[in-house]
């Protein structure tokens, strides 16, 4: 195996692997500080933060070092290469670069959103000189709140790494951002009247290594050190971007993409990024309710669940009528599996349907050219299918019902009085059932609705079970390409609402606490194509199912 040496540590890499010095060093946890380089963007090697010394190990063991400093980001490693990132020469270059970057910087960390997760702070602390020798006035540059609907630029914090510019040129293709001016007077800007409002625009805020580009939505809402982070998956479309959910005190403050080579790559779209506001909506369902003789009464969970169970058991005994369930593409695999297996245990006459799969337009592919046409190679797709787990729920349905039928079929049969009980699960914050459709439930004795927001169905529910949003649940969802990823509970549900997995676990009378990993094992053993779930914990990137 080809080998490189980073500060005397040995690293092996694949024969066909093309990695640079920064990446090689990362493998042995050596940090070569860098700003302009980003794995998803072209290499410009302009910030000069990553300067290192390199040399070559000769067969006799001696090392010949090059006299010149080289940017580690621009230099691919080759067999026998020696990389030194902690020599006096390198340290002096790092100090010089950081002193330059901070020359005109306002040092307004106390009021900067990035403080606490800022590479200027971190690198200055680790590699900087501690003080500036500037005896002149700092250059002042005007802030630009017009950069985008969601983005504002604190111009004098910018270190001109051009990550943001390259993102709009190379990934979104929309090219709104550019550098204007020259030398130390240059600034990031837009063409007048053409703000950076593309559907991937929010990513430039994450890409910005400093507090120059900030999200207007998040601005001044929280100090980042108060935030607690849970890994999750964006539920807004079937791309299934891996994300981090940042919350404090049971309030979500922002979503950030979490790099995943098996899923979307490094980014996420703005629909997903800002599409979580319903989590804290005032109309969230917060109390379990039961309708009795036309009256709606609030119930405790330990009262309502036995009542639901009783009604379902009774329906299961009905000789003429069956039970139906509508499984939502917003459910996790665990929830769908719990509900389906439970109902199956009550009756041999259970019908299943897939809840509405909302689609909007066509798959939206990036980068785009100046006419808005997608270009090859596609680097990001916002999918038309606006739900997270269609493929996964289809897999569960095929296992329990043999085929996948749409909700309309079940509602049609409900209208003709086929069912003694119907169990409907919602989850789509944009709504999933119309009044006319819900009218079909008129003939059903027991209507159980489990959802997060009111709907025409909840208005007719015999039992209304308030569930959890994606940020409140643990479980597994499967994206368009069959990648199964875990979502995790980041916040508690409002009021009495409860994560759906727990509701169903208790309803099914399982013992102990809701345990997604054990359910994954169970599904992996029993459901066709779900084999990889047997490992229980799916890891950072998830596992690909054989579907």
């Amino acid at each position: 195996m080809p080998t490189v040496y980073v500060n005397d540590q040995q690293i092996e890499f694949g024969v066909d692997e093309r990695i640079n010095c920064v990446q090689a060093a990362q493998r042995v946890d050596v940090e070569i500080p860098h700003y302009c380089w980003h794995p998803a963007l072209s290499v410009v090697a302009s910030c000069r933060m990553c300067l290192v010394e390199v040399g070559q190990k000769k067969p006799d063991g001696s090392v010949a070092m090059q006299p010149k400093l080289i940017p580690g980001c621009q230099t691919p490693v080759t067999d026998g290469m020696v990389i030194v990132s902690d020599s006096d020469k390198v340290k002096a270059a790092q100090q010089a670069t950081l002193e330059y970057l901070l020359l005109n910087h306002p040092l307004d960390c106390p009021t900067c959103d990035q403080a606490g997760e800022c590479y200027l702070q971190d690198y200055s602390y680790r590699y900087g000189r501690g003080y500036s020798r500037l005896a002149e006035n700092k250059l002042l540059k005007p802030d630009k709140d017009y950069i985008g609907e969601q983005i504002t630029l604190f111009t004098d914090r910018c270190i001109m790494c051009t990550r943001c510019v390259r993102f709009t040129r190379e990934v979104s293709g929309t090219a709104e951002l550019q550098v204007v001016g020259r030398g130390a007077r240059e600034e990031i800007d837009i063409f007048p009247g053409q703000p950076c409002d593309n559907k991937l625009a929010g990513n430039v805020v994450d890409l910005c290594p400093v507090g120059a580009l900030c999200s207007k939505d998040f601005l001044y809402k929280q100090r980042v050190w108060w935030l607690k982070t849970e890994t999750s998956v964006c539920p807004n479309c079937s791309t299934g971007c891996s994300i981090n959910v940042d919350q404090n005190d049971d309030r979500v403050y922002r979503l950030r993409p979490r790099g995943n080579p098996l899923a979307q790559g490094h980014f996420m779209c703005d629909e997903g990024r800002f599409g979580w506001k319903y989590l804290h909506s005032d109309s969230r369902l917060t109390t379990p309710e039961q309708r009795q003789g036309g009256k709606v009464v609030s119930r405790d969970w330990d009262v309502i669940l036995p009542a639901v169970r009783e009604a379902l058991v009774a329906a299961g005994r009905d000789k003429k009528k069956g039970i139906a369930a509508v499984l939502s593409p917003w459910m996790t695999l665990e929830e769908a599996y719990l509900l389906a297996s439970y109902l199956k245990s009550l009756s041999s006459n259970v019908s299943f349907a897939l809840g509405p799969v909302r689609t909007v337009g066509e798959d939206d592919k990036y980068p785009k050219d100046v006419y808005g046409r997608p270009m090859e190679p596609v680097k990001f797709t916002i999918r038309a299918e606006k739900c997270p787990n269609c493929r996964g729920i289809e897999g569960v349905l095929r296992h329990f019902a043999g085929s996948v039928v749409p909700m309309g079929d079940v509602l049609g049969r409900a209208a003709s009085g086929d069912f003694a009980a119907v169990y409907l699960v919602g989850g789509d914050p944009e709504g999933w059932i119309t009044d006319a459709q819900a009218a079909a439930l008129e003939k059903v004795d027991t209507v159980v609705v489990q959802d997060i927001l009111p709907s025409p169905a909840s208005a007719r529910a015999t039992f209304l079970l308030p569930g959890g949003s994606f940020a409140e649940r643990d479980g597994t969802i499967v994206n368009h390409a069959g990648l199964a990823q875990e979502i995790h509970r980041a916040i508690r549900s409002p009021g009495e609402a409860k994560p759906d997995g727990r509701i169903l676990w208790d309803l099914a009378g399982r013992r102990g606490l809701f345990n997604p990993a054990s359910l994954r094992k169970e599904m992996g053993e029993t459901i066709q194509g779900f084999g990889p779930l047997r490992i229980g914990k799916l890891g950072e990137y998830g596992v690909r199912l054989e579907m």
């Binding site: 910030c47 300067l51 010149k68 400093l69 670069t97 330059y100 005109n104 030398g183 130390a184």
Partner: protein
């Protein structure tokens, strides 16, 4: 030494120096005919054997550069003619283009044949309006008489030459900045590798050569390798890396001399001879304090270094960056080096493209430190600070993408080491070049 007769400038004073007829009457385009009758490889070999080194600033062997092109490439291969001439003090390309455009066009055509290119772009400094008009007319004449276009001179060789007016920045002359600018983008120099010979204009193999370099090609083909090598300075046997400085060179003399001019002389003439014999001596009967050997980015020679031969190696031996563009700027002994250095730094700060942190910030900071000194607010430690800034932006190799930062650092280094006493005295005595009245004006 046999008397030297100008070759490149031989025709510039003729009344009809710019027309095709005039050029042909003096034997013009015979070299092209000769070259087209030779194989491309043979033309390349002649240029390589001649030892011709680039006249644009870096002094890199032209033949060696051409040989970096990929072999058996299916094309297109491009020639980009660097006519951006923006190094302060430099005006030789301009004279060549304004006074003898066909000499350049002939060199372009020969070079394209040698490098198997069928398309050449002349990247012309925007401010050179007259050069544009003269070259444009000359190109039209060539197309009309079968010297450019399809089937040149009946040989089956095709060549198109495009004249492109530059984007008005010094950095557009850096070869990869030039390429970016030709592609319609900001002239932000590219990282290398890949070098332009492998991946240049429109991601195709590209050779970038200076106007004067290409004019020399014409004469090498016409007069032969021996002729070219009979002019100039052979390699120093004690310096293995010296490949010699052959051929004629245009020296631009400006600054505090009686007779600013551009003269053609064998490489290796000394700064003193240029000033005294050709520049008419330092003006007002004064003495030279410092001399720029080849454009301000090469740094300064001190008065005691005026016998330095201005060949490709001489200025380096005297601590300068190199011969550069051989633009000699004379600074008399009434001038403050603080002001001179401030002016150099201000230029570089204005022209830094802004990509690389050390260049972007270093050029600007050094300018502002010097500005402070010129306002009488200097501190002795500023001298070492300036040297440290110069080191980190340009003297230590590898800290930036292109050579501008080196060129910004060298004047600082030379001025502060060769004239350190003057800076110290200026600061100690509390001198100021910017008078309060100026400050008042500036405030308005």
């Amino acid at each position: 030494m046999p008397e030297f007769h100008p070759v490149l400038l031989a025709r510039i004073d003729k009344p009809d120096s710019t027309s095709l007829a005039g050029y042909q009457a003096d034997g013009g385009y015979a070299a092209l005919k000769k070259a087209l009758a030779m194989s491309a490889d043979d033309v390349q070999k002649m240029v390589k054997d001649s030892g011709l080194r680039g006249r644009g600033g870096a002094g890199f062997s032209a033949g060696a550069k051409w040989s970096f092109l990929p072999k058996n490439h299916l094309g297109p291969i491009y020639l980009a003619v660097n006519a951006d001439e923006s190094e302060p003090g430099t005006f030789n390309n301009r004279i060549l283009m304004e006074e003898d455009p066909h000499q350049l066009l002939e060199g372009i055509a020969i070079t394209c044949h040698a490098i198997r290119s069928h398309t050449a772009y002349i990247y012309l400094r925007y401010e050179y309006g007259r050069s544009y008009r003269v070259l444009d007319a000359a190109i039209r004449e060539c197309y009309a008489s079968g010297i450019l276009g399809k089937n040149i001179l009946g040989t089956g060789f095709n060549l198109d030459v495009y004249l492109h007016r530059g984007a008005g920045a010094y950095i557009c002359g850096e070869e990869t900045g030039l390429i970016e600018s030709l592609e319609g983008k900001r002239a932000w120099p590219r990282i290398k590798p890949p070098y332009p010979a492998i991946e240049g204009l429109f991601r195709r193999p590209t050779i970038v050569n200076n106007v004067e370099t290409l004019c020399c090609v014409t004469h090498i083909i016409q007069r032969g390798v021996e002729w070219f090598k009979s002019i100039g300075v052979p390699p120093d046997p004690n310096n293995k890396r010296d490949v010699g400085s052959y051929g004629p060179k245009l020296y631009c003399i400006s600054g505090h001399v009686n007779k600013p001019c551009c003269v053609e002389l064998p490489l290796g003439v000394t700064a003193r001879e240029l000033i005294d014999t050709h520049g008419g001596g330092v003006w007002k009967g004064r003495k030279a304090k410092a001399v720029v050997p080849g454009g301000i980015s090469m740094g300064f020679l001190s008065a005691s270094e005026l016998d330095t031969p201005l060949d490709f190696e001489g200025p380096g031996r005297a601590g300068c960056l190199g011969l550069g563009t051989a633009a000699v700027v004379v600074i008399d002994d009434h001038t403050s080096m603080v002001d001179v250095l401030y002016n150099c730094c201000r230029f570089m700060a204005h022209e830094s493209c802004g990509q690389c942190t050390p260049c972007r910030e270093g050029t600007d900071w050094s300018t502002r430190i010097l500005d402070r000194i010129r306002h009488g607010k200097g501190r002795l430690e500023d001298i070492d600070l300036l040297l440290e800034v110069a080191n980190s932006m340009g003297i230590i190799p590898g800290t930036t993408i292109c050579g501008l930062a080196d060129g910004a650092a060298w004047p600082v280094k030379n001025a502060l080491t060769k004239f350190r006493g003057e800076f110290e005295e200026y600061i100690r005595a509390g001198r100021r070049s910017v008078k309060p009245a100026d400050e008042l004006m500036a405030a308005h």
